[in-house]
Amino acid sequence: MSDRLSELYRKLSDQGAAPDAEALARLAAGDDLGADRDALLAQVAESRAAADALAIALAISDNAAALARAIAPREARVDVRHAGASYRRGVPLPWLAAAAAIAVGFALMLEVSAPVQPSPRDVASDAAVSPGAAADSLSEGSFEPTSIVAADSFESDTPPELFSDDFDA
């Protein structure tokens, strides 16, 4: 290519308006600019300042990356702190977990303490028993005189063990 032609063209583009620096930097960084890319490139082609800026930004991209990495430890510390904050925001809080556990326990307790409803099968088997033998569960209990109260009578021949010790001895 003729250097002279290039020189003439650069003179031609001396007065071309440079596009926004942010957009040029994005172009240099290889960002996807979508439909704006062609218009931006046209501006670069028509502006010597933009062309120089973009060419230098492209040429120095490796150094820029190294410089950015040099500050990476500082960024990493920031990232960790931010990551911690987002973790706390993202994960359910301990008190929330405790509240959920209590709610489940309460529900279980209610279920256990609720009156037992006889199942249809139980009802059917009860109906098969003879009417004379029909009795509720309470009446099936035996109240023979061997109850504790009767057995603990002080009139018994054998005193209760509690009183076996003779304090007067």
Binding site: M1, S2, D3, R4, L5, S6, E7, L8, Y9, R10, K11, L12, S13, D14, Q15, A18, A21, E22, L24, A25, R26, L27, A28, A29, G30, D31, R37, D38, L41, A42, V44, A45, E46, R48, A49, A50, A51, D52, A53, L54, A55, I56, A57, L58, A59, I60, S61, N63, A64, A65, A66, L67, A68, A70, I71, P73, R74, E75, V78
Partner: protein, 178 residues
């Protein structure tokens, strides 16, 4: 920033500044002051660090500082009086033996604009970028085209441009093809 990180950053920014200065000198060839650009970028980066020590400091951000500094330097240069082409360069554009068809440097620039504008649209952008000094690989990357496609567009565009310029009276002496 801790001292060791400060030192490392200072060393890297020195290297970065030196390379930036060389690139500006090479690319801009005296049109803008390389030292000014380097100094401006350094100041912008330090100011950014001081302003917000926790701000993300990406390569893209650094490139933006460079782009801004170069564009601003060009604007400052444009404000200064535009220097005319050296006498010798203007003479080189004159086709030997055809003084009637010779033109001043400004006229050459005007004709060049016309000639480029007459090229097929698809060849214009790659050719303009090439005349701005971008390599074929860079143009391919910027336009998301293949290297081969860009090479053909630029090569054919250049040939056609030269034919048109010759027809306008800008001879090979002006195009540097002697």
């Amino acid at each position: 920033m801790p001292d060791d990180l400060n030192e490392r950053f200072a060393r890297l920014i020195d290297e970065f500044g030196a390379r930036l200065r060389r690139l500006v000198e090479m690319r801009c060839r005296g049109a803008i002051d390389a030292d000014d650009v380097e100094q401006e970028v350094r100041i912008r980066l330090w100011q950014a660090l001081e302003r917000d020590r926790n701000a993300p400091f990406s390569a893209s951000y650094i490139q933006k500082a460079v782009v801004s500094a170069v564009i601003d330097a060009h604007r400052r240069a444009a404000v200064r009086a535009t220097e005319p082409l050296p006498e010798g360069d203007a003479d080189a554009l004159v086709e030997p033996g055809r003084p009637d068809r010779s033109a001043s440097a400004d006229e050459e620039v005007r004709l060049l604009a016309i000639a480029i504008g007459e090229l097929p649209q698809r060849r214009q952008l790659p050719l303009r970028l090439h005349l701005q000094g971008f390599s074929l690989v860079e143009i391919a990357r910027l336009t998301a085209s293949s290297d081969e496609a860009v090479r053909k567009l630029v090569s054919r565009g250049l040939e056609e441009l030269k034919v048109r310029l010759r027809a306008m009276g800008i001879g090979d002496a002006g195009l540097g093809d002697e």
